[in-house]
Each structure stands twice: as structure tokens, then as C-alpha cells.
Symmetry: C2
Subunit: 384 residues, 2 copies
């Protein structure tokens, strides 16, 4: 059901010819109102793609009437010409959709960096997509934004008369702030942009910002939340925020589960931290340790590499009070050898690492993947 699960939205996904293999590559999501409220969060990378720079401006107005998303090219590092391409895309969508303003059309792109988009294919594609707009178009839109994703990702939560739904793409370059992802969430709840903004930031902070497949931060990350108000319902903030968080958490978990070349999903829980920031810093350091990621791939409960990663952080801890469990076996106690590592069963895809800093009561969960020969292969051959 994706972005069309909530009332007031139509969507389409088509093959515009941007991808040379003829796969779907252009998605259109339209908010039919009555409200056009929106919020967005974007990559923290200082090298931002043209569509990110454009959409950041659009979101300042708090109104989004339509989103054009393309795979097959990131339109990043393409200079002023690339920005003009994004501008022209918004103008084209506004013209085709009648009554829309380019200043309320958000744009998102994904694919190879440093290559101009084939505008001779993209612009006609918008006309084609507009014709196919449908309240059942959510799945097709989710399919059209895939790059190296093996499956499309959608999630929906319905509560008392209102719904939050969404779609996501992302398989590599997943790292905090945000991951390499495009996400569009929609709701028919009747809410103002500041409320949407708060709920979206609360949700992404503990979901998309805490997945880290390969430590690489993208130039194109975009998460949008559009509200149509079509349900006529005005939910309480806490209920709405919880629904947004649930959808984001579901989509984030799907991203990790489909990360490039991965054979293991690693849930890293840091407990006993003096602060949440400490817990997140330690979790990310563990998540990014290539040697540990290789060990997990080899089903080797190499807790020494966990301690080595913790040791590079500025978090509060005493090395002699660190405890580490892998799949609930406390293989490291008080910074030294704990329970028998042969007790750790690592046959399953999900691996749980618990790092206890023994320094407080705060905690955080970071999701990561193992490092595999398939990841190397996929990313050494990507652009060639």
C-alpha cells in the first residue's frame, strides 16, 4: 500500500528510460489535499546533490504538493547545470499536474554520483507518470525508486481513522545522518507542518539515523512526510509520533535486511552508558569496524574486535569493567575473557551484540551489516 495507503494521495511508477536496462526509474507521488502540509530531513553530508538543495528550499515553505523521484542517477556533483535540471523537473511536474507550483514540488534522485541526468527521457517520463497516477499506485512508485535494492520496501500503520504509510529505497552508502536512502511517508492526518517536522525528526533520530551498513554517508538522503488531512482526523501528538516512528523503524529494518552483499544483520545494543550520546558513539564505532564485520561474516564471535572499537571512542568507561555478549553469551566480562566463545551460535542471519559500558543507565541500538566478498564485488563493479 506504500504511499497511497493514506487517503488523499495518488502515485505512479514507470520506466522513463533513465536506466539503460529498461527497469522502472521514475516515481511520482501527489498530495490531493485538502491539506498540503509537509516536513523533510536531509543528508548531513556537506556535499549535497542538486535535488537535496532544491527540496530543502521547498520544505522551508512547509507545503509539498508532489514529489518526483528518480533512480538511475543521483544528480550529485553536477554543478549549476545539475541544479537547473532539478529546477526544470519541478517546473515540468507543476505544468503537467495543473494548478501546482514548482516551488511546492520536491525532487529526489538516486544512483551514480557525478553524471548528468538524461533530461530528454526524464521530462517526457513525468508526462507518462502523470497519466498513470492512481490511488493504487504506491507499490509501483516503491519499485521505481530501487537501485541495487533486491526488493522494494513499504510499511503502513493505521490507527483511529488515520494512517501513516511509506516507501523507502537504500541498499548501500547507509550511514547515520542519514543513510543513502530516499523515503516518502504520507498521512491523511490533519496536522500542521511544525507538528509533522517534530514527529519526523523524533522518528528519524532513532531509526534511519541509527542504521549503518557501511559507514558511508550519501549526498542524496531525503526523508519526506506529506500530510493530506483527507481523514479529517487530528491525532494526539504522541499517537501520531509513535505511528511515524513505527513506520520508520520498519522501513529502516528493511533497509538493513537488504544491504548490499550482506549475509548478517547485526543488532548492536549499547547499555550501561553514561549518556545516550555515548551509547550512540560506541554503537557506531562498533558498527563501522571492518575487522569485526568480517568476523561476524565468518561466524566468529571475536569480542576482542568489539573492545578494540569501543577503545577508539570518547565515551565514559573503564576498560576493566566492559562486558560484551554475542547472541546473549557474555564472552567478555570485566574487560577480559568471559563465558566460552564456543557457546555462541551464529548460524542465523540476525546477530545480537550487547556492549555494557558499566558507566550509567543510558542505551541505544544501532543496526549494521557484516562485510562480505559480495559487498566488495558489488561495489567494485558498480559504475563500470
Amino acid at each position: 500500500m506504500s504511499v497511497t495507503a493514506a487517503k488523499g494521495f495518488s502515485a505512479a511508477g514507470i520506466a522513463a528510460g533513465i536506466k539503460e536496462n529498461g527497469n522502472p526509474d521514475l516515481a511520482l507521488v501527489v498530495n490531493n489535499g485538502p491539506r498540503l502540509a509537509a516536513a523533510g530531513v536531509f543528508t548531513a553530508n556537506r556535499v549535497k546533490a542538486a535535488p537535496v538543495l532544491w527540496s530543502e528550499q521547498v520544505l522551508k515553505g512547509g507545503q509539498v504538493s508532489a514529489v518526483v523521484l528518480n533512480s538511475g542517477g543521483a544528480n550529485a556533483c553536477t554543478g549549476p547545470e545539475g541544479f537547473q535540471d532539478t529546477h526544470a523537473t519541478a517546473e515540468k511536474a507543476a505544468g503537467v499536474l495543473k494548478g501546482h507550483s514548482a516551488g511546492e514540488v520536491a525532487i529526489a534522485s538516486t544512483g551514480l554520483i557525478g553524471v548528468r541526468l538524461p533530461m530528454d527521457k526524464l521530462l517526457p517520463g513525468i508526462e507518462k507518470a502523470a497519466v498513470e497516477l492512481s490511488v493504487h499506485g504506491g507499490e509501483k512508485a516503491a519499485i521505481a525508486i530501487k537501485t541495487t535494492d533486491s526488493v522494494h520496501k513499504t510499511a503502513v500503520v493505521s490507527r483511529d481513522g488515520w494512517t501513516v504509510g511509506g516507501m523507502a529505497k537504500g541498499a548501500g552508502m547507509l550511514a547515520p545522518g542519514l543513510a543513502t536512502m530516499l523515503v516518502v511517508l504520507t498521512t491523511d492526518a490533519d496536522l500542521e507542518p511544525p507538528v509533522l517536522d517534530r514527529a519526523l525528526r523524533d522518528a528519524t533520530r532513532t531509526t534511519f539515523d541509527r542504521v549503518d551498513s557501511d559507514g558511508c554517508m550519501s549526498t542524496n538522503d531525503t526523508v519526506l512526510l506529506l500530510a493530506s488531512g483527507a481523514s479529517g482526523e487530528v491525532p494526539e501528538y504522541d499517537a501520531f509520533a509513535d505511528a511515524v516512528r513505527t513506520v520508520c523503524d520498519d522501513l529502516a529494518r528493511q533497509l538493513i535486511g537488504d544491504a548490499e552483499g550482506a549475509s548478517k544483520d547485526i543488532r548492536i545494543e549499547v547499555v550501561g552508558a553514561a549518556s545516550e550520546d555515548d551509547a550512540v558513539e560506541v554503537g557506531r564505532s562498533i558498527a563501522r569496524n571492518n575487522l569485526l564485520k568480517c568476523a561476524i561474516h565468518g561466524e566468529d564471535p571475536n569480542w576482542g574486535r568489539v573492545l578494540s572499537a569501543i577503545g577508539t571512542t570518547s565515551a565514559v568507561f573503564d576498560p576493566d569493567r566492559l562486558n560484551v555478549a554475542i547472541n546473549d553469551v557474555w564472552v567478555c566480562k570485566n574487560g577480559s575473557v568471559g563465558e566460552d566463545r564456543d557457546l555462541v551460535d551464529m548460524r542465523y542471519r540476525e546477530v545480537r551484540i550487547t556492549a555494557d559500558l558499566s558507566a550509567g543507565t543510558e542505551s541505544a541500538v544501532i543496526w549494521a551489516n557484516d562485510l562480505t566478498a559480495d559487498y566488495v564485488h558489488e561495489n567494485s563493479a558498480y559504475s563500470s
Copy 2:
């Protein structure tokens, strides 16, 4: 010639049985004076192996009469018992060598983290090594400290009547502050500990601290510089510091050239930086980008991944003024597409990336490796 190139030193390398495969695993380096001056730098990891904690104490006295190094076990994360093992090793060496004090015996260990050393093999090994001490023993000592190294690493510089020589080991877990390495440098110059300390820190800051094979910081890194004074020469500081830097640079380059699973050595030069710190931060960010490392492995001049890595730093730059060359072809100009990427010839092992921040006149060079399926294989099978 290694650590015995300088006058006043003897060394040995033997198989003590610490490694189950029977390969050499214990090295002994003895300073026969007349001077016993020494300096050392150690890992910045807050989780430090027992031998690092021990040797840091020893070095505070500025006197080192002997160094015992073992491969086959890191003696890290082994608790108070592991520290007692290190202490017993120093006591044993002092006893065997006559006239030595345990407080002047430095210890260095390398191998798997979280496993106690087999002291029933290590201690008799020290007696065996002492018998084999020789002024020609430098090569054997260098061989005995290898772990996954495919070759042993030595370097020597001789100037006006004095010499600096050394040996190094390290193949994985190479990252700044320092890399996973054990290094012993010796000189017969007649210098005080503060001078040695200054020269050693000056040298490591721009050599060992600027290699980054896999972003992982070790628990055991140790670089020692021992001076015997046996040449009777007192060199000028600049000449001595230059010799130490030359030996460190040579050994650091050998470490990168032998990094686990690597097929490419990547020289990353950041120029046009507002400060040296900026240049180092940007260089390290590029060096640690897994996606870029995969691309280099695939001989793909994927400059977008360089920009993406630069964008995650706090360095001074304008995204629209970034320039990137790969093997001297400026594939990115002003943050956008530059010269034809097909002009880049990446067939050779050494790949040169130049990142111009257009923000100043400072620069730095960081050495890194590509990311390969062999790296994954070697590190997923290491302890099992």
C-alpha cells in the same frame, strides 16, 4: 640489517612454540650500551594490551636495556592475569640477561586479542633467544614478529658515523594513532631520552600515524627507539630527526604495501587545505570510505565517492570549488564533472588520489589500501 645495523645492539628471533604452526614467534633485542636511552609511542586506543601498559611505565624512566617481542598472541583484554604474564616476562628476561633490571625491559605482543599467552612456552623461549643473541640477529628478530605479514620489514639509514635502523610488523588493523604495528628502531648515536622522544614523535606523526589500511585502531601498537651511544657521535637534531623520519617512512610504506588482502596501495594527497589538521581529517575520511576502497579495487575512478567522503568532514571547503585528480587526471573540477574518466589508467598497484580543497596552502599525505574479497576472507577466518 634491521635493529642490529646500529652498533651496540644484539638481537635474536626464535620459535618458542607460541604459534601452533612452529613458525618463529619470539624476538629479543638487547642494548649493550654504553648508553641505554629510549623513547616510545603507543596506541591511542583506550583499551590497551597488558604489554602496552607495562612498556608505557618502563619508558617513563627513559631507559630500555632490552625488548621482548612475541607474535602468536596480543595479550590484550586478558585482565590482571595478563598483566602478571607481561611482568613475569620482563622479570625472566632481566634474570636471563644478567645485570638487567625488569623495570628497563620493554615488552610488545601481537596476535589475537582476548587469549592468554602460553607462558610455559614463552619463558623458556627467552632463555633460548638469549643464547642466540648476535650482532647479526636483526633479520631473525624481524621475522619472529610477523603475524599475517607476508614479508618481514626492515630499514636502515647511515649518516656521518652513526646509524638508525629498525624493524616493523603490521598487516591489518592499520589506522592512525597508531596502526597495528610493532616497531623497534635502534641507533648508535649518543643522545638523551628527550631528544629521542622528540625525534620519534616528529617522525611518527607524519608516517605511521598517516597510514590507514582498514580504519581499525589496535590495542597493541608500540614504536620504540633505543639509543646505545656506541658510535660516540652526537648528531645535530635536524639530521637525526630526518634519519628517524626516513626509516619510519620506509617502514610505514612497507606496512601499506603488505596490508592484508590488498591489491592496491592508495596515496591520498590533500592539498589547498586551510590547515594541516583539515588536510589530515579529509585524507583519513577518504582513506576509510569502504565504497571508494571497493571502487579502487575495481579500477573504477569513482570520484563521486571521494567528494562524498570529503563532505562528511568539518574541514573548510566550498563544495563548488573541490577538485579531484586520480592518477593525475582531474576527473572532478569545481565540484562537478572534469576531465574524461576514461583517461585514468589504474592498472598499476599504486593509485594516487589528489584532493584540492581550494581553501588554503596546507597539505598532508595519507596512505591506504583498497578493500578486497581477500581482506574479507582473511579477516573472517582469522581466529577460527
